[in-house]
């Protein structure tokens, strides 16, 4: 009955009537009503009473329950967001069966555990589950999936309230999963917004992850994933993507991640991936790359970042093509005098060259790494000399005769105008 | 009018005035003479308060001028070099100085005096011109008017006729004599000795920072048995040289 892979746009529009529709569709299944005054007044009772394929409709009210184990394929559907309150004493839902749907619930107050990963909804070793349109408040881990496959997490709001890393888990946490869809969720106030470890062939899209205590999204050892149209804003350390390959990241917005250790996106040991049409705006560092190979970075907007791109010397064969670098304090910084990466046909607002043949491509190459960038790398407090006349003169001298900055880090075909796509 | 009491002044190692004491009587024209570097300008500037003496006192009208600026209400000074703010017009400059010297003797009417002199020296057509566009002669006329405008008791002129055309020169001298007859004291330095003969009642001859001679020019000429002041002074200097070599 649950078909996780459907046209998500249609679903997005009909989200409001979805649960009602599925109830009608399954007319021959039993419907079990739960309300505080009903004969079945707790979700736990309803789950015990339910048979495979039944729908439990939870009506508005406050249900102080926890450790609800779902071991059969059923649907739990809330009307007007009934509240399931764990009273900070433990995990609320544990799903151990395939084909389970949970929607329309407000799940709150799981409480902290330093031994176990308590969650609002935990799914373990399941397939084809749908977690949709729930509100999770103050739930240590929000939605936690382990060793699962082909599930959809859609339209949930996961909101944490703690202020430090130890008191909270991740909003959406996936471990050893594949073929998952994470879409349209609004995540805030957790350690990491979305956490992926050993997850493959999954898609993350249209999510908003903001004000997390650490990363807006955190990716480890997760190959062949795609994420797009997400917004990662104002997270303490931006987004971290590590030890993964074949990642396709496109049309995301990374903005306002600016603490002293903050990046728009941190790439560590990433290879054979594509970063396309993203917006990096107002981050301390737009893209930080360490040990990355064969990444194609194309058609991105880097605007008003402190450092647009920081690429370390151990990165090879990455291609920066047709990006816009506009009003960044530093465009590119590297810690090595050699560069094995390609910069081609980018637009640089710092470029001061000319275009005599009017082909839209500047006639003199552009060197995005300035001497001062290099100095600041070696002697961080020197940043206080930013934009002083002395530094301008120093940069000019280095521009005329490059001695220290990497000679190969150069855009031979800088564009004269901002690139549109 | 002016009492200078053993003034000493040195600039660095160079001692310019070595104890000058002099009495300048009221209602006379007194010329300060002396070779270049004898301390004429320094003496004048001491009286004006531009140069502060190392030792000694200066009294003007019985009032010590040390740490005092109000006494300058009674002085009209004509500096040697006439340079003014380039972008002000002549009448603005007049107004500026009149503005600075307001609240003085109510009998004075500097505006009226000023316009009299403007027509006397015929600079009406320059009144609205910026000072940078003026010729040296016109600028000197402006300089002269600035000194004469306030009807003070004491005039100090430093090389007043340099750059003036003959007509203005004559008119200036006439004005000076007229002022003398009004009981004003006039102190001037000049290189033109005929002028001294013509105008001054008394000369003060400075030599190497000391008063070498003070008295009337006629006496000096009689004394040295010469018929021009120039020759008398030359003789006096020669005698001094002989004295030094002996």
């Amino acid at each position: 009955m649950q078909t996780p892979i459907r046209n998500y746009i249609t679903l997005f529009i009909f989200t409001g009537v979805y649960s009602f529709g599925s109830v009608l569709f399954l007319a021959n299944a039993n419907e079990i009503k739960v309300c505080p005054q009903c004969s079945i007044s707790t979700v736990t009772q309803a789950v015990l009473a339910a048979k495979k394929g039944d729908v439990i409709v939870v009506q508005k009210g406050i249900y102080k329950e926890r450790n609800i184990v779902i071991d059969k394929s059923i649907t739990i559907s809330g009307e007007n967001f009934p509240v399931i309150d764990g009273e900070n004493k433990g995990q609320i839902f544990l799903i151990k069966s395939d084909n389970v749907t949970i929607n329309g619930l407000q799940i709150q107050n799981v409480g902290n555990s330093y031994v176990e990963d308590w969650a609002g909804i935990k799914l373990f070793n399941v397939k084809n589950c749908l977690i949709e349109n729930n509100k999770l408040l103050n739930t240590f881990f929000g939605i936690y999936l382990a060793k699962s496959e082909s599930c959809t997490i859609r339209g949930n709001e996961v909101k944490g309230t703690s202020k430090n890393e130890i008191e909270t888990g991740n909003a959406i946490h996936l471990w050893y999963c594949k073929k998952m869809l994470i879409e349209n969720n609004h995540l805030t106030g957790h350690r990491d917004g979305i956490y992926f470890e050993f997850v493959t062939e999954s898609k993350i899209f249209n999510n908003v992850s903001t004000k997390q205590i650490r990363y807006g999204m955190h990716f480890m050892f997760s190959h062949y994933n795609e994420y797009f149209h997400n917004q990662f804003t104002d997270n303490d350390a931006g987004v971290a993507v590590m030890y993964s390959d074949h990642i396709y990241m496109h049309e995301n917005t990374f903005s306002d991640n600016w603490s002293p250790v903050s990046n728009g996106i941190l790439l560590k040991e990433i290879s054979d991936s594509k970063i396309e049409k993203n917006i990096f705006q107002h981050n301390t560092i737009g893209v930080y790359a360490e040990g990355c190979d064969r990444i194609e970075i194309k058609n991105n907007d880097f605007t008003k970042n402190g450092w647009a791109v920081k690429i370390l010397g151990d990165c090879n064969d990455n291609r920066f093509e047709e990006n816009n670098f506009t009003a960044n304090t530093f465009d590119v910084v590297t810690n090595s005098s050699l560069s094995h990466n390609l910069f081609e046909k980018n637009f640089w607002s710092e470029y001061a060259g000319y275009d005599l043949d009017k082909n839209g491509v500047g006639d003199v190459p552009f060197r995005p790494v300035k001497l001062f960038t290099y100095i600041v790398e070696q002697t961080p407090p020197a940043i206080i000399l930013l934009r002083s006349l002395f530094i301008d003169l120093l940069n000019l001298a280095e521009k005329v005769t490059p001695v220290i900055t990497p000679e190969t880090l150069v855009d031979n075909n800088p564009m004269m105008k901002e690139i549109k796509w | 009018m002016v009492e200078v009491k053993s003034i000493e002044k040195s600039f660095g190692k160079l001692t310019v005035l070595k104890g000058v004491t002099v009495q300048i009587p009221k209602g006379k024209v007194i010329a300060i003479l002396g070779p270049n570097g004898s301390g004429k300008t320094t003496l004048i500037k001491c009286i004006l308060g531009l140069v502060i003496p190392d030792k000694g006192d200066i009294l003007i009208g019985g009032e010590n001028i040390k740490n005092n600026w109000k006494y300058r209400n009674n002085i009209g000074y004509l500096p040697q070099i006439a340079r003014f703010p380039e972008n002000l017009t002549v009448s603005e400059l007049f107004r500026m100085i009149q503005d600075l010297r307001k609240n003085q003797n109510p009998k004075n009417n500097p505006e009226q005096t000023c316009s009299q002199f403007v027509s006397l020296f015929q600079i009406q057509s320059f009144l609205n011109k910026p000072l940078r566009s003026l010729s040296g002669g016109t600028r000197q006329k402006v300089n002269v008017i600035l000194a004469l405008m306030f009807n003070p008791d004491l005039y100090i002129f430093d090389e007043p006729t340099v750059g003036l055309d003959p007509i203005s020169c004559v008119r200036f001298k006439e004005t000076v004599l007229k002022e003398k007859n009004n009981g004003k004291t006039i102190l001037l330095t000049t290189h033109i000795l005929s002028e001294v003969e013509e105008m001054s009642d008394e000369i003060i001859f400075l030599l190497e920072g000391k008063i070498y001679y003070q008295g009337s020019p006629k006496e000096l000429m009689a004394n040295k048995q010469e018929n021009t002041l120039e020759k008398a002074i030359a003789k006096m200097l020669e005698e001094n040289e002989q004295k030094n070599t002996n």
Binding site: W258, N305, I383, L389 | P79, N87
Partner: protein, 263 residues
């Protein structure tokens, strides 16, 4: 006080009508328009204008200050022989020059930004800070120029020293800071950096403006210390105090020299 105002009034008229002041105004007018036109947006325009302002304003103020002093040397003698206090003459002249230079600067930069709609943009405070520091730098460097001039009767020497002073503040000082940083790289230098910056008016103005503009870069890695200092109210007060000391101290020194000086 009345004396100061009288002298100031005419000195101000005089300087304001000088073709150099007009050129100075036109320079800022044209270059600000050009910067706004080529950078296309207000905040980038402010950054570029900051670079121009921090270099040109001190330089021109220094040159004008020295030139004005030496050119009005004879006229000052005439003024000194008038019944007016010495300090009034010099402070009046100083204010006349400093205020008319700041006015040229402010008008020259303000008009272009006004036509680009600075008042309805979020950058209005950044721009105000830039204008304010630019004007303050004029006051500082005219004062320093006057001080150098009064200490040097020889015009060429005075000019040379003044330009050298500008070079030291605008360029060499930063080179020295960098040398200190590189040499003592192993030590924590952030506090030293803050102190050294506060001591140079050009650097201080630059950092004050930068913390408003390039804040994302400055906040990175090491600069938390800078922000902790300059970002707070007390840091701002200390900065402004330091800048005012740079105005007041040369004037006080100048005044005490002027009192004893022979003209």
């Amino acid at each position: 006080m009345q004396g100061i105002i009288k002298i100031f009034k005419y000195s101000f008229y005089d300087v304001l009508r000088s073709r150099w002041t007009v050129l100075y105004f036109l320079f800022f007018l044209i270059s600000t328009f050009a910067l706004l036109y080529f950078s296309g947006n207000m905040s980038k325009g402010i950054v570029s204008l900051m670079n121009v302002t921090l270099t040109i304003t001190p330089l021109i103020s220094t040159i004008f200050g020295v030139m004005h002093y030496y050119n009005s040397r004879e006229f000052m003698e005439l003024l000194l022989s008038q019944p007016i206090k010495r300090s009034n003459i010099f402070i009046g002249q100083y204010l006349g020059l400093a205020i008319s230079l700041s006015l040229s600067f402010v008008a020259g930069t303000f008009i272009p930004f006004l036509t680009y709609g600075i008042f309805v943009s979020p950058e209005v405070w950044d721009f105000s800070l830039l204008i304010f520091t630019g004007a303050l730098l004029s006051f500082i460097f005219v004062a320093l120029a006057f001080l150098i001039s009064i200490l040097n009767e020889n015009r060429i020497k005075g000019f040379g020293i003044a330009i050298l002073m500008w070079l030291c503040m605008a360029v060499i000082y930063d080179g020295l800071i960098l040398m200190v940083f590189v040499t003592f790289n192993d030590y924590p230098l952030e506090k030293a950096a803050v102190i050294m910056t506060t001591l140079n008016p050009i650097d201080l103005s630059r950092v004050m403006i930068l913390l408003k503009l390039d804040i994302s870069a400055l906040m990175g890695y090491t600069a938390a210390v800078f922000n902790q200092f300059f970002g707070t109210t007390s840091g701002m007060i200390i900065s402004l105090l330091s800048l005012s000391v740079w105005v007041v101290l040369p004037i006080v020194l100048f005044n005490s020299f002027a009192k004893r000086k022979d003209f």
